[in-house]
Amino acid sequence: MTEIVQVVIFGFLLGGVYALFASGLTLAFGVMRIVNLAHAVFIVAAAYAVFFAFENFGIDPLVSIVFIMPVAFVLGVGIYVLFFGRIEGSPRYVEMTVLLTFGIAIMIEGLLGWRFTGIFRQAKPAYLTDAFFVGDFLFPTGQVYAALLSFVLLIGLWAFLRYTRTGYGIRATMQNRSAAQLVGVNVRRVSAISFGISAALAGASGAMMSYLFPFFPFRHWQWIALLLALVVLGGMGSLKGAVIGALVLGVASSLVVDQIGAAWGPMAFYGALFAILLVRPRGLFGKEVAA
C-alpha cells in the first residue's frame, strides 16, 4: 500500500509539471484555434537557453524563469504576427495551423540540432539529487520545486484570465470569437498576446525540462505526442481539462512505469487518447470542435 501511495505522489508531482507543459498548448487552441505542433520544440529551445545559462553563468534553472518568460513572450508575439496573422480567416484554418506549426517545428528542430548536436543535455542544480521524507514518503526536492512553481504559474494564469481586462478579452474570445469581436474586443491583439503567453508558458516549461527531463532536439516529437494526447483527453482548449488530464495521466503513467516497466509509461497517454476518441471524441471538458 505504501508503495502505491508513493507512486501516486510521484505521479502527482509529474502531473503538475505536465499541466504547465500543456497549458500553453491548450490556451493557443482555446483562443486562436491553433493546434501548435511546435509547442514542445519551443519548450526544448527554452530548455537549451536555461541549460546554457546554468552551465556558463551558474544561473539557477528555476530563477532563469524570470528572464526566459518575457523573452519567450516577445518571441511568441513575433511568431504570431509573422505567421498566423496572415492566415486568419483562411478556409480550413485549423488544418492550416497544424501544417504551419509542423513546418515551424521542423525548422526550429533543425536549427537546434545544427547548433547544439543531438547529444542528451541535463542541467544539474544541487537540488536535482536531493530529497526529503514526509512520514514514510519520499519527496525528490527538484520535482517538488517544479510542481509547486507550476501550480503558482497556473494559478497566476487563471487569475490573469479571471481578473484583468486583457484576461476578459481572452476568455471572451475563447467562448465565441465573432461575438467577442462584436462587443469590441480587439481579437487580433488578444490573439497575439495569447500566443505570447502560450510561448512564455513554454519558456517556463523549458526551465523545468532543463533539469527534470534529459533533452535533445528530436525529443520534442515525443513530448508533443504526450502533450497533445493529454490535451485531447481533457478537451481541446479547456484549461481545466488540461490540468486534470495532466494529473490523471501523471499518476496513470507512474503506475504503468511501476507495474509494467519504465519504457511503457507513455503508453498510458496514448491508451487514454484512443480510449477517449472511442468513447467521447471531444474529451472530458471540451466543446464540440468543427474541423
Binding site: I87, E95, V98, M236, F274
Partner: protein, 344 residues
C-alpha cells in the same frame, strides 16, 4: 479544366465543371510517360556499356520510393483532406513484415513485400475505424500517437530486435547488380501508386473524397458514404507505403525502429505532397523529385542533415503561406501547367 477540389481557396465545388471536363488525357502526355518509363526500365541495364553509375541509380531509386510514399499519402491527405502525420507507421510495418521472415527463415523480401503492403493496408483499415471517428485536429493528433505506439512496441520487443533492430543479409547477387532489383521494386511502387492515385482521382470514389475534403457534412447529406470512403482511403493510402518500407529495409540490410517509425519519414511525405500540390495526381511526384534533389544538393553543399531539416521546414512554411496550392496547383491556376503534368 477542373479546378483543384482540395484547394484551400474556398471556392465552392462546381459540378458542371466536373461533367464538362474533357474526357481522357491528350495523347502527348502519354507519349512523355511512355518515354520516361522506357528510359527508367532500361537504365540499370546500361551498366555493361556505360560503366558503373550506382550513384545515379541510387538517387533515382530514392526519388521513386518517395514518389510512391507521397502519392500514397495524397490519397488520404490530398483528396480526402485528412492530414496524417503518422504514415511512417505503414512504412515501418512493411519493413518489419518483410524483415522478420528474412531474418528468421531466410524468406526473400521480394516475395513478402506484397504481404508488407497488405499488412499496412489492414492496419490502415483498423486505425481508420478508430481515428476517423474524429475530424480535424483530433484525427491528426491520433495519427502521431499511433506512430509513437508502434515505436514503443517495436523498441521493446525482443523478438523484433528491440532498439537495435534486426540485421539482414545482403541480396544474393553479384556486387555489380546489387542495386538493380531495388530500383525495379521502387519503380513498381512508384508506378503502382501513381496509377492508384490516378484511378482514385478519376472515379466516383475520388469525387466523394473531394466532396469530403470540401465539406464533410454536405457530402454526407448528398449521399456520399463518408465513413466507408474515408476508411477505404486510409487503407488504400497505406498499401504502397508498406511495400516500399519492405524494400527499403532490405536495401539497407537492416531494420531499426527509430529509422522507420519516425516523424521525419512522415514529414517528408507531407512536405513533398504539399510542395508539389495536394489533391493533384502529378503534385506529389513533382514534390518528391524536387525534395530528393534539394536534399542531395544540400547534403553535398553543407554535409549535414540538420541543415536539410531546416530547409524542409522553411520550404513547407513558405509554400503554405504563399502558394497553398503547391507547384502543380499554382501553375494550373495561372494556366501555365504543361500538359504532361496535367492528370486531373
Amino acid at each position: 479544366m477542373i479546378e483543384d477540389r482540395a484547394a484551400a481557396d474556398g471556392s465552392e465545388p462546381d459540378v458542371i465543371d466536373v461533367i464538362a471536363a474533357p474526357k481522357g488525357p491528350s495523347r502527348s502526355r502519354w507519349v512523355v510517360v511512355a518515354i520516361l518509363l522506357l528510359v527508367l526500365l532500361l537504365l540499370p541495364l546500361g551498366r555493361p556499356i556505360l560503366g558503373p553509375y550506382n550513384y545515379i541509380i541510387l538517387l533515382i531509386t530514392n526519388a521513386l520510393m518517395w514518389t510512391a510514399l507521397s502519392s500514397s499519402w495524397n490519397i488520404l491527405g490530398g483528396y480526402a483532406g485528412y492530414i496524417s502525420l503518422g504514415h511512417a507507421v505503414f512504412f515501418g510495418l512493411g519493413g518489419y513484415v518483410a524483415a522478420v521472415p528474412l531474418y528468421y527463415s531466410g524468406v526473400s523480401p521480394f516475395l513478402t513485400a506484397v504481404v508488407g503492403g497488405l499488412a499496412a493496408m489492414a492496419l490502415g483499415f483498423v486505425t481508420g475505424l478508430i481515428t476517423l471517428r474524429t475530424r480535424g485536429p483530433a484525427f491528426i493528433i491520433s495519427t502521431i500517437a499511433l506512430l509513437f505506439v508502434f515505436l514503443l512496441v517495436f523498441e521493446n520487443s525482443e523478438y523484433l530486435g528491440g532498439t537495435a533492430g534486426l540485421p539482414l543479409p545482403v541480396v544474393p547477387l553479384p556486387q555489380d547488380w546489387l542495386k538493380a532489383p531495388f530500383f525495379y521494386a521502387m519503380l513498381l511502387a512508384a508506378v503502382g501508386s501513381i496509377a492508384l492515385s490516378y484511378k482514385v482521382a478519376h472515379s466516383k470514389f475520388g469525387l466523394g473524397l473531394r466532396a469530403i475534403a470540401e465539406d464533410e457534412t454536405k457530402a454526407e447529406v448528398a449521399g456520399v458514404p463518408t465513413r466507408f470512403y474515408k476508411i477505404l482511403a486510409f487503407a488504400l493510402s497505406a498499401f504502397w507505403v508498406g511495400f516500399a518500407g519492405a524494400m527499403w529495409g532490405y536495401s539497407l540490410s537492416f531494420v531499426r525502429p527509430t529509422l522507420f517509425f519516425t516523424v521525419a519519414i512522415s514529414a517528408q511525405m507531407v512536405l513533398m505532397a504539399i510542395i508539389g500540390g495536394r489533391g493533384t495526381v502529378a503534385g506529389p511526384v513533382v514534390g518528391a523529385v524536387l525534395i530528393v534533389a534539394v536534399n542531395e544538393f544540400s547534403i553535398s553543399q553543407f554535409g549535414s542533415s540538420e541543415i536539410n531539416i531546416v530547409i524542409a521546414g522553411v520550404l513547407l512554411v513558405t509554400v503554405l503561406l504563399f502558394f497553398p496550392l503547391g507547384i502543380v496547383g499554382t501553375l494550373r491556376k495561372k494556366g501555365w501547367l504543361p500538359a504532361f503534368l496535367d492528370w486531373d
